[in-house]
Structure formats: structure tokens, C-alpha cells
Symmetry: D2
Subunit: 310 residues, 4 copies
């Protein structure tokens, strides 16, 4: 397609939504965070915002859900803005490969996580924000509300509590990194910030709106406010492209062809630079921990329209 063609996004997303809805019952709701299991697993929402201020939605697009790992992109955005390229002494930008070696890689790489989109990397980002900000949790929430242009976005204390109660693997990761000297602050406080961010709740509509600046070279196209520099904005997208889906990053890039990020709450956000941001949500996950319907929707959506970066 060429940019001069007006795209009938509403028709396209409704059409794809109908096809994907029929895939009922596949996948599993995330089982390891107790609080996330109470959700109605059949819900499915999609929302798309374009740079010119239009937006298009279908299904449960206005229901709040736990954005979980999607918040890693927002953590990175604030830390990158604050610290610039000094960040990359503490965390890499390479995909992590297979899941079975997450810990061995951390050992092999002397406590430097592969990228900021995996748990270890986002924990390091939290540690950096702890060192830089006087009220990291409050300032991080304020930052999200600002780029979302929505003062009601908030943490969910029950989810924070639930994550802490089963956070053994994250505690293992942060202690291993501390052993290598790559954590500077109090472990419990860093994990509290990390789990708080995981608990942020948004609707598809809010999530899509929040990521719009990454589709516009770092500038919010509605408020015209610059969130990140051109170069940093492109680089955050690049990291999402290669690292946003754990060990399914290659598969997502292959099938969908957009920079994006998923969370175990069943949400996925993706951006098409110069065009739009899109958020999908459905709680059942595939074996790799990414929303089953969300992945299918985005694959069909970009394959059918050719609306990918490649």
C-alpha cells in the first residue's frame, strides 16, 4: 500500500477480529501469578490509534487489564531519556535466544542482562531509576500518566502483592546480578518498583494511545510534545523488534513485522512508524507466554494489509 491511500482501519480490524474470535479456547491463562487467574479468559479487545488523531476499536477494548511486561518499554523510555547511552554499560541490546539459558547467560555475561525487555534487564533499569530519582515509583507513574495523557492510570496493589508472593525467580535473578555488582540499591525496594510497574492497568484504548509517540519519532502527535529524541525513539522500537517477545521475538518479527511488546496479562502493543499504534488483548497465552489471539490477530492484520515495516 502507499501512504496516500486512506486505509479503512475500522473495517479491517473488525474483519480480522471476527476471524480470530472463532479460535475460542486455545491457549492458557498465565497460571503463575495467582491474581491474574481471576480474569474472564474469553475477553478479546483491539484498539488502533493513528498519527492524525483518529482511533478505532473493537471488542473488549475498554476493559482494564494488567499490562505486565509491556511496562518494560515505559521503564526503558524514562531511563533512556534520563541516562542516554550510559545505560548500555548495565544492560545489552541483543536478543536472549532460548529461554533455558537465561540464567547461564547472566552468568556468562557477568551479570549484564542481554536486553531491557527480559526480566533481568528491566530489573536493572529499575535499579538505575532508583539511583536517579527521588521518588522512583511516583515519578514513573507520573511519567506514564503524562505520555498516556490520562491521570487515572494506576498500579493494582493486589497484583503487586500477588507477584511478590511468587517472585522467587526474579529474586534469584536480582541476587545473581547483585553478586556481580550490577545492582546498586536495596534489593527489596528495586523489586517493589519492578513489581509495581508490572501491575499497571490499562485498556487497549489507553495502551494504544500511550505508545503513539513511538510511531511518531518520539513526539506525541496529538499534543506535539517531544517524549524522546528521534534517534532514541527509533532505538526503543529497534529493541522491541529484536527483543520484545522473549524467545518468540524472531517469530513475531517474521509473522507480524512490527516492533512490539507483549505481557503475560495477555496484552500486546505494536507500532507502525509513521502510521499507527495498536493494542490487542486476550488473556489466553500460547506456549511461549504471548497472547494466543493477540498474536493471530496481528499476524492476519499485517499479512492482509501489508502494513508492516518490511
Amino acid at each position: 500500500m502507499t501512504q496516500s491511500d486512506p486505509v479503512d482501519y475500522q473495517r479491517i480490524i473488525e474483519n480480522v477480529y471476527a476471524k480470530v474470535t472463532s479460535l475460542e479456547g486455545k491457549g492458557q491463562v498465565a497460571h503463575y501469578i495467582p491474581e491474574l487467574q481471576h480474569v474472564d479468559a474469553t475477553q478479546f479487545g483491539v484498539h488502533l490509534n493513528t498519527l492524525d488523531g483518529s482511533d478505532f476499536g473493537v471488542g473488549s477494548n475498554q476493559t482494564k487489564f494488567s499490562i505486565q511486561s509491556i511496562s518494560k518499554v515505559l521503564l526503558l523510555t524514562l531511563a533512556y531519556k534520563e541516562r542516554g547511552d550510559t545505560l548500555w554499560k548495565r544492560v545489552g541490546v541483543e536478543p536472549s535466544g532460548t529461554p533455558f539459558n537465561s540464567l547461564v547467560q547472566l552468568e556468562h555475561d557477568c551479570g549484564i542482562p542481554r536486553n531491557p525487555m527480559i526480566n533481568a534487564g528491566a530489573i536493572v533499569i529499575c535499579d538505575i531509576l532508583m539511583s536517579d530519582l527521588s521518588d522512583p515509583k511516583g515519578e514513573m507513574l507520573a511519567f506514564i500518566r503524562e505520555i498516556a495523557q490520562n491521570s487515572k492510570i494506576d498500579f493494582n496493589p493486589k497484583v503487586i502483592q500477588s507477584e511478590k508472593s511468587v517472585g522467587y525467580r526474579n529474586t534469584a535473578l536480582i541476587n545473581l546480578m547483585r553478586a556481580f555488582g550490577n545492582i546498586e540499591n536495596d534489593i527489596d525496594q528495586v523489586l517493589n518498583l519492578y513489581f509495581s510497574l508490572c501491575s499497571v492497568e490499562m485498556t487497549c484504548q489507553e495502551l494504544s494511545r500511550t505508545f503513539l509517540f513511538l510511531a511518531n519519532d518520539g513526539i506525541d502527535p496529538i499534543t506535539k510534545q517531544r517524549i524522546l529524541s528521534l534517534s532514541k525513539s527509533k532505538r526503543v522500537n529497534a529493541i522491541m523488534q529484536t527483543c520484545g517477545f522473549y524467545d518468540e521475538a524472531g517469530e513475531f518479527t517474521f509473522r507480524v513485522g512490527l516492533p512490539g511488546k507483549s505481557g503475560v496479562g495477555g496484552g500486546i502493543v505494536a507500532v507502525h512508524p509513521e502510521h499507527f499504534a495498536i493494542a490487542v488483548w486476550s488473556p489466553r497465552l500460547n506456549k511461549k507466554g504471548n497472547s494466543y489471539k493477540g498474536m493471530k490477530f496481528l499476524e492476519l492484520f499485517t499479512t492482509q494489509t501489508g502494513l508492516s515495516v518490511f
Copy 2:
């Protein structure tokens, strides 16, 4: 930038070329293939072809060099065209992570290479072509000449011989895959095809021209001939984006932001979909085995112009 602005590519590449030229002496010529060491290490060329048929060059852009691993993209193109998605039973689309686990991943994944851009994956692609074609080496060369629109492109028998004489690691890989049943043909013949393809020689100008179809959704923009379907073309680009630079794939995506592929001969090719293909060449390599000046050129080029997919 918007597509309506005419970009003064010649001025930009000359400007960036001048900056990068000053980085003389950094990096090392690939030492493990004896024949490749005879090259003049100071050479440095750049060539860019746009979809409208214009092309722009600077430096040693008309000197032949060994394209090495860049041929993996051409092998994939023909095999994907022939086999379609049945290919993915034999090879994956995920980045390979750190180099130290190439063999353990092959063991862990029961002989299925992570992607077609690493040696093991390209060897499987060669095995597939051996099974499908009556004269795989001849047909593969004919295919390259066709998409290059250049009947003089050829193998270099001395380089083939040189690669064979030190090909122990590739022999280890193919035998391990054969032990898992993922190689069907005679091992020596498959390796001969693989090494032959590595030895293909092109100039920057020829290489850039050859990859133009991947910047145009699978259609050669000059001859209007379709080489690959839209969807397959986008997916080959996606695989280059996540897997094209071994364990520096994330770094290249982060710094350059274009789908691309490098070879140990010092060549790098990249495409900007809807815009252009570009080839750079300089024999000295950085620690990850990618052209030192080539990487720097592309980083400055896309950072300065904003001409990346993100």
C-alpha cells in the same frame, strides 16, 4: 523525512564516507579463510540503488569481493520460493543469541538450526536445495545471475578450495545435524554447495542491485519481474532484521535500523523497504566478525538521515 522530499543520496553517502574513511586501521581482516587474507585491507566502497532506477556510489564500489555469508539470503530466497513454509520444519526463525552456544542449541533443539542466517541453517538450506534441484550449484548460480541481472557473477574456485581446507567447524555442524536426521544428502556434496555459495564475488554496485527486489516487496523494480511474493519478501527481510548479524543482530538493528546481512569478506547489504538497497564493503572486521567501517558507515548514514524502518 517524508517520501515526497527528494533525498540527495550522493551527497549524503560521500559526506558519511569521508567521515568513516578517517577510521583507518581499526579491525582485522578475517584470518581463518587463508584466501581472504590477500585482499588490500584499506579498500572501502559504498553503493546505493533506489527503486526508481537511480544509483549512487563512492570509493571502491566497483571492486569484486567475496560476499561470503551474504549468499545465505540468496539461498533462503530460492529455497523459500521453491518450498514455501514447509521450510520451517527444518530450520527456525529465531535469533541465535550468544555465539558460545551455537552447538549446544543445535543439540538442545535436536539438530534444527535457529535460523537460515547462521552456518548450520544455511547448510540445511543447501541440503534442501540438493533434494529439490537436479543441478543445485548451477541452478543457484543462474538464479543469482537472474536477480542480479548480470551474467558474469561467478564462484571463485580458489576461495572454495580455501574454505574446504579449514572447514572443520562446518563439518562438525553438518555431522551433528546428520546425527539428528536433519541432513538428507551426501555430506561432502552439501558442503561443496555451501562453500561454493560463500565464494560468490560481487562489487558493491552489483550487490546493491541484486538486493533491490527485497526493497520492493519481492518485485525487481527495474524489470518489474516478481522474484518472491509480497509476504515472503517481507519475511526474508524480517529474518535479516533479527538474525542477519550473528550475535550482533540486536546491535545492528539498534544502531542502523535496517534489515541487512553481513559477510566475513567485509561486505554488508541492507534494504530500506519502499526506498533503496545499499551495499558497503571494507575488509577489516570488528570483534563480532562484521565490517568495522561498514557498520560505522551505516550507523552514521541512518542516524544522520533518519532513513531507517523504525
Copy 3:
């Protein structure tokens, strides 16, 4: 040698001691536990106890030192006595191979440590004792005092504190095992038991005396009291033989040929079944974390006398 020859142990150990003393200054005192660095690094003691009640000593054989990982054998002894072979559902008996994969092995083996002589394995043993005993720390100390026939053996609270202050890697291990369900009790309490046992202090004379039952098929040869059954005693020795020296276990078996265990405090204890127990101590460690002089002493001692199990 045959058992009927009387061996002049005093002369032999003095002779070997003199040779090894000349190796002054090699190796490094353990640096990662702050409290252990205050020790005089030149100290070197040896003590040997035979089954018939004789004992022989040289050098600093009556100076207290931190037995550290040597206590893992005593933890195993009590747990094996209490639990019998049900123990092996929670921990293995295989050597751990290279150090770099301690964590990946724990992941690969779903939280089951390779053996009770590595940190992860001893932590699981502590967890088992926590579940079985009403006062695990007190009862474990009482057990050690009983087999040592010495009521003055004790923990060193400063060392406990020092280990806790830097115990990030052990905290990582226990959390990872907890994530796999292989830790049942409160993490802080289990680690407190573990660090307490590491802090136990003995002299060479006391340590050698304590291990005498393992040289006599599980019976203290002086008091005639059975500590462990014949079969269990042999199996504890077998585990020391294959797993007692981390990734230098093969080297120790190769050079010394006795079942033994080392600690980062610089102590090593070994037993020759049917013959004797021997303890050596010198704080400087080789690169693998085992006492430099202790290893040399035992190698020369068994090579010169042929007094090994092989």
C-alpha cells in the same frame, strides 16, 4: 604397602610438610567472605588420626580455622542418618562438571542440585533438616560435638554475619530452587542454618578426629559408637570422592586418590578407609578455591606412600 607394616606416619608427614612449606606465597586467601581475610596466610597445619587411636601432627595443627564447606559432609551425615535414601529425591549424587553451569544445571534439572557437596545441594539438606528437627541449628551443633567428642566446637557469629552480608549468589540459588518447589521452609531461616554451619571452627586435630568414623565403616573407632551404617558410611565417602572438590574433584581423585572435602577457609579433610583420617589447613587457595599447600601436601603424601584407595 600391606597393613601389617607399621607406617611411621609422624616421620612421613614431617618430611612432606617440610617440602611443601617451601612453596611459600603461592595462592590467594579467599577474598569474598570479608571476615576470612583477617587470618595469617602463612599458617600451615597437618594432623592425622589412625583407627587404633594414635595421632600425629605438625605445624599449626592446633589453631582454629573456619571449616566452611567441609561442614557439608556433616550436614549430609545427619540428614542421611535421619532420612535414608528418600534424600535422593531432593538432591543427586553426580559430580557437577564445570562451574559455569551451576545455575543452568539447576534449571535443566528442575531445581534438583547435582549433589550435596555443592552449595545448592547443602542448602537443600539444610531445608530437609529444618523440616525434620525442632531445633535444627542446636541439634546440628550437638551432633558435630558428639562425633568430634568435643563439647567446645562452636559457630563463629562474626563469620555468619560476614557470609550473610555477601550471600547474594546463595540467595539466588535458594530462590531458584524455591521457584521449582524444592525448598519447603522459610528462605531466611534455611540460609541462616546454612551460613551457621559454614562458620563452624575446628583445628586440624579436631577435624581429623571428627572424620575418623568415615575411615571405619561408620563406627567411631575410639568410642565404638556407630554413627552411620556400613553402607551409608561408604556412600558418604563415595560422594566425597566424586564431588568433594567442586570442579577439581577429578583432579583431587587423580592426584590424591582419597575421598575428601575442602573448604574456602583453606581446610581439607580426607579419609583412607580402614586406615586413617587426615586434616590439612593452609589459607591460601589455588584457582579452583582449594588450599594450595593442602592439595600439594596430600598429593605428595599419598604418592610417596602409596596410601590411596586405588
Copy 4:
């Protein structure tokens, strides 16, 4: 037991043999070497030779079988005799840990195999013998016949052929080591020597007799001829103890408590220094590739008699 008690070996082995015979049908004959599958899987033999020249047998103790990896001990014996401790620059003495990382360890350790009892290590030993001997295959056979005191021991050409036809993994190993410079001779010739040694056939009686020198500090107790020095003999036993059973070495040491070596033909040989050598054979293997009945027999035999080194 003490050495002055005469042990009624014949009664003991018959008694244990009877118990183990009832375990019919468990385990699987090695499937990956085609020629080994033709054997009658129910066969089960035991033979024990003491230092004083007595010997005791039961079952199929006079039937020839393929000794396979047991020959690794004989390769090591000759190479160690010839080269002494310079050997250890090319191969280590540490257990290999889990099977899944055999190749990654070889990569991590830059082509130096962990020990001479795994395939990679024995292949390096073959390479060393190739460099040292004018007729390595002939001289190696002559050496075996000499220590066996039996001129009829021979290779089985059909088994050599069968191993070659499926030797992809070994070809992978040798090529990887060659890539690291740890193989000096022609790959095909080294592998031919290696496969030839795997094909050697012996009966239990012959095998037990052959290993008697390792139970007697390196001297054949019958001919009084020295095969290896005292120190080297003890060290070969030490290597068998920690490395003789792949990733079940700890288990064998734990259950049986003797230095020993197994082969996928279903044979196991073990020695009790100062006492005896024993060979057992039964073709069905457990999951770790060691004879099911052989392991059980030796476990019951040493547990019942206390005849272990610990």
C-alpha cells in the same frame, strides 16, 4: 571384612547372579550401532579374577561380546605409558557432568575434552597414538593381547563397519577438536583407529583377566610383569572412578564403590585394588547406557560383601 578372611567368591557371585537373573526384560539393547542389535539380549555372564590367580565364573562368562568403550581404558593405559603426564595438555581428568553439554563443554574448553573416558577424550588419545606409533592399530592390538595374555583377542570388522556407518556424532566431535587444533592426524585414520578399538571382542573371563594389573598397582600378578608404574596405575583407576560411567559416574561410585568402566555392548569391568578384577556382561542397557543387570549385580555384590574401596 579384613583381608585375612578367605572370601567364598564363587558362592557370592552365584547367589547375587540368581537374584539379578530374575530382573528379566528390563532395559534396552543399544540401538544406534546396527551390528550390536543381533545379540541375544537375555545373556548374562560374570567372571572374577583374584590376585592370587584364582578365578570364578557364572552364566555366559565365556561368550564373546563387543567391549566398546571399555577399550578406552586400554587406550589410555598405552598412551599414558608412552607419553606420561604430557598427556594432560590434550585431555583433562574431570567428570563431564550432564550429557547435554558434551559439545558445549568442548567449545567452552577450546577443544580439550574433559577426560579420556568420553568419546572426545578417547579420540584425542587415538590421535596421540597415531603420532607416536608406526602401526598404531597393530601395536594397540598387540598391547591388549599382551596384557590379556591371549593372542586370540581381535577386532570385529563388521562392527567397525557398522560404527562407521552411523558415526556422525563422533565425526562432529573430531572436526570440532580439529577446528581448535587438538587433532594432529588425518581425521579418517584417527576415527578408524577409534572405531577399531571399540570393536574389540572379549569374554567376561578374558576381560576380567585383562584388567587384573590395575588391581595390583600396575603389575600383572600372574606373570609378575609391570604394565604401568604404581602411580600411573592408581591414576588410571582414579579416572575410572570419577569418569567411567558418563553421567552416571557418581551413581556407580555411590552404589558400587569400585573404579570401573562400562561399554554400550553391555559389558562392565571393575577392579578392587589389592583384591580382584571383575567383569559382568548383559546386553540390555539402562537409560544412561550402562548394562542394567551389570549395574544391579555389582551394586548387590559390593553392598552384600562390603568389598568396595570406601
